[in-house]
Symmetry: C2
Subunit: 122 residues, 2 copies
C-alpha cells in the first residue's frame, strides 16, 4: 500500500482565509485542524473539552480572564475545558488545533460571523 505523511506546513498554502480551521488528520474521535489567524477572536469556552494549540509559524497570545499566555513558533498550550479564552495574533500566524471532532470554534458563543463550518478537510 501507498502510505503518505501529512506535510503540515504545506497545507497552509492551500487556503488564505483566517479563523477557519481545516481538518488535516483524524485520530479516533479527535481531529487535527490548521488555521491562519490574525487580529482578535471572541471570548468563548468549550464546556466539554480541553483544546490544544500548537503554533507552527508566528506567535499568538491567548487571553484568559485572569492572565494570558504567549505561544511562539514550536510551542504549545492546552486550554482546559470550560475556561474562557480569546486567541489573538498581531501578525498572521499559523496554528494547529487538536480537539474532539465536532467542537465549534466559537464554543458556546453565537457568532455567525466567526463560527466556522465544521469538518472541512484540506
Amino acid at each position: 500500500m501507498d502510505y503518505k505523511s501529512i506535510e503540515i506546513s504545506n497545507k497552509y498554502k492551500l487556503f488564505s482565509e483566517q479563523w477557519q480551521p481545516k481538518v488535516i488528520a483524524e485520530m479516533n474521535d479527535y481531529q487535527f485542524k490548521i488555521a491562519k489567524i490574525k487580529g482578535e477572536f471572541i471570548w468563548h469556552s468549550h464546556k466539554e473539552t480541553d483544546e490544544t494549540f500548537i503554533v507552527i509559524k508566528g506567535e499568538i497570545e491567548i487571553e484568559f480572564r485572569d492572565g494570558f499566555v504567549k505561544i511562539k513558533e514550536g510551542e504549545m498550550f492546552v486550554v482546559p475545558a470550560g475556561v474562557e479564552h480569546k486567541p489573538k495574533s498581531k501578525k498572521e500566524s499559523q496554528i494547529m488545533l487538536i480537539e474532539p471532532k465536532g467542537v465549534v470554534n466559537t464554543g458556546e458563543e453565537d457568532s455567525n460571523n466567526l463560527t466556522a463550518k465544521n469538518d472541512v478537510w484540506i
Copy 2:
C-alpha cells in the same frame, strides 16, 4: 495567573535515552509524549486506539506489513488502531506521539527491554 507555553524542542534537552516517551502535556484523557528514537523498534500494534506521530526533528520511517511511510521534519502520520507497525530512524530523530493516556509503547507485545514506563512527565 501565570500561564506558560510548552517549548516542545527545549524539552528534548532534558533527557538523552531513546525509545522512552516522556509526557509534556495532557488534553482530556490524551497525552502528548516526546521521544528520541534511533534504530529499529519492534513490530507491535495498539488494538484500541489510533496513534499519532509528529516528527519534530530528523526523519523517521514506519514500516507496515504491506508498505511503509517516511515522515520528515514537520510532517505527521496517524497509525490506525490495530495496524501492526515498526517505527525506525537511521539517525536519532525527535518525535511527538499523541495517544490516550495509558497506551503502552510496545502495544500487545511483551518486551521488557523496550516497554517504557508510562506517565513519566518531563
